[in-house]
Amino acid sequence: MDANELLAWARGSGFDIALTIFVAGMLLRLLEVLALGNKPDLSAPRGSGPKGGVQTLLSRNLPRKAVFDREPLRIINGYVLHIGFFIVLFLYGPHIVLFESFLGFGWPGLPSGVIDAVGAITILSLIAALVFRLNNKVIRFISTKDDYVAWAVTLLPLLTGYLTYNHLVASYTMMLALHLLSVELLLVVAPFTKLTHMFSFAMARWYQGYQAGRRGVES
């Protein structure tokens, strides 16, 4: 298969299959979780559950000082990683076109050169995250194959995107094909790894926050 054929497949069947598995897979995981139910709390409430849920959805975006002081670099790196990833994914013109095609609306993007720089920083941040994972005894202890797979499938789209944009390694057509294929790999793998956290984090924060809000305790 040459670059043109690979690109055509990636933009055709490849994308269809990958997106289908992603959407169906994530919905499956969501319903598997919800099916297990949540018994109502019969204790006398002191505050509001929904308010606690919303508050916790927001509060966990920032680290507690006590924990931040113990691992500042690792925590900051986590922010760089996520924020960089979102900027590259959501604020790059060609990507916005994709979202617009099924959302029906778009939004302004950042200059492509800025995205390139942010992409580079994010790649470095991901590499740093791997270094942290391998060197920190706690994380190394609790890490499984899943963590490394998730890392790899997250790195590849960023890396291939960067290489494509900068016309490195192979022809633009081939690099674009590889970039799309790496995105498709990410989509296919995501529902079966910890990458489900992109949706389940909200559920977890809500559940704990709801209970905490109801009890009038910190969350």
């Binding site: 995981r29 598997e32 297990l36 018994k39 986590g78 389940s200 984090f201 977890a204």
Partner: protein, 425 residues
């Protein structure tokens, strides 16, 4: 009624997994920040105490029982089993190395309630026969005798006699229609009798009717600590039944951590219906009394002191401001330790750890965290509001040759109480 077994344990854990638990496992990204919040990890440096690691057996069960992908993995032999070895290996992590303090739950970036999961997983360990000796003993005594320390009513009555002699005040027993039902913890009855005396004087001054129940004077719930809901329900029902029978308006939970959790949050869910009465922690009641002007204080303690937040009362109970309101009235040199309030560090003895002799050494190692907090402050006195914390802290201080007396807040407040001079016969 049957012998414990691994099968029973697994079934119990299966039944404990609900949507929140499933969402927690789905959201965990192995960031390891929970370990940084757990004093058992920070003081031992051993990564096995990482909170999310403590519930790994539950995760395995969740994955293979409740996810299609997990079922497929299991069918292909690609996932780890949960068997007797698993239970044996994890027993000390789930019991000895965790006080259910909840600090991990507060710091998890994706919002996982890990300590809640550890509480749940104990159901499986107990059902499989992997609960610690000390906790089995405590639960047995609690169920059969009425108190985990084996304290019986006569002991309480003896205390009351002392009290009457000292203060001339009566302690009502089984008084129907009293406004408040006061509960006690074995620890208080045995080690800190000043508590009951303080209660008596405060209630008298406030002019409130109160009583203790002969069939349910014990607040401590060993069932919560060992993690067996059936036993927890049995124990809490004694209190609920007594409160219903006596028709009290409010049940007061004493200076004990898990007792508060048991009666305030778990009780209604254990018995399957809401209460017909309110539940308050003694600090909440005292704060109320002071704010309403029902009791007044005079004078101040000028020794440099600090307050240790019992986990179940502050972080898990939401009673954070009240002790500070009260202390600020009676202490002129009250300084806060670092991380005071909701993020305070556990004493290391809660959640059943202090009843588990096997965990003594680990508990003392964990105490180093509290030791560091205290050394940084250089205080003369330590105030707290949980008898178990008090005991654990006293042990730790002694082990480290630190001469800091500990006092309960209620007892301290009573010292500065302005009382009318009438003596009751």
């Amino acid at each position: 009624m049957s012998a414990p077994s691994v099968e029973k344990g697994i079934q119990a854990i299966k039944g404990q997994i609900d949507a929140p638990v499933a969402s927690f496992f789905s959201a965990c990204v192995h960031c390891g920040l929970c370990a940084e919040a757990c004093l058992f990890y920070t003081e031992t440096g051993d990564p096995k105490y990482t909170p999310i690691n403590k519930v790994e057996p539950m995760r395995r069960i969740w994955e293979r029982e409740y996810t299609l992908f997990g079922k497929a993995k299991a069918a292909l032999g690609l996932s780890k089993e949960v068997d007797a070895d698993t239970f044996a290996e994890w027993e000390t992590l789930v019991y000895d190395g965790c006080t259910l303090c909840g600090r991990c739950s507060l710091v998890c970036p994706v919002g996982n309630d890990i300590s809640g999961m550890i509480r749940k997983i104990r159901e499986g360990f107990a059902a499989a026969g992997y609960a610690p000796e000390g906790l089995i003993g405590a639960s047995t005594r609690a169920v059969e005798i009425g108190s985990p320390m084996g304290v019986k009513l006569p002991a309480v009555q003896a205390q009351i006699k002392h009290l009457q002699k000292n203060t001339g005040l009566d302690v009502p027993i089984d008084a129907k229609g009293a406004e408040y039902l006061v509960l006690l913890s074995s620890m208080e009855i045995m080690n800190f009798p000043e508590y009951l005396e303080a209660i008596a004087r405060i209630m008298h001054q406030a002019g409130k009717s109160w009583t203790i129940a002969s069939k349910a004077f014990e607040a401590t719930n060993s069932g919560i600590q060992i993690g067996v809901s059936d036993i927890a329900k049995l124990l809490v029902s004694r209190v609920v039944d007594a409160a219903d029978e006596l028709g009290v308006k409010t049940v007061i939970s004493p200076e004990c951590g898990h007792a508060f959790t048991a009666i305030r949050w778990d009780g209604a869910n254990l018995i399957g219906r809401p209460y017909g009465f309110e539940v308050k922690h003694i600090l909440e009641v005292l704060d109320e009394f002071v704010k309403k002007g029902l009791i007044k204080t005079e004078g101040m303690e000028d020794a440099k002191l600090t307050y240790h937040d019992p986990c179940q009362i502050a972080r898990k109970g939401g009673v954070v401001e009240q002790p500070r309101n009260l202390l600020n009235r009676i202490a002129s040199n009250f300084v806060e330790m670092e991380d005071a309030g909701e993020m305070n560090w556990c004493c290391g003895g809660g959640g059943g750890v202090s009843a588990n002799e096997r965990a003594d050494e680990l508990k003392l190692t964990a105490f180093n965290r509290k030791k560091a907090q205290l050394e940084a402050l250089g205080v003369d006195t330590l105030v707290t509001a949980c008898a178990n914390c008090r005991l654990t802290l006293e042990e730790g201080l002694e082990e480290n040759n630190m001469d800091i007396p500990i006092v309960g807040l209620t007892e301290m407040l009573a010292e500065y109480l302005v009382e009318d001079d009438k003596e009751q016969a």
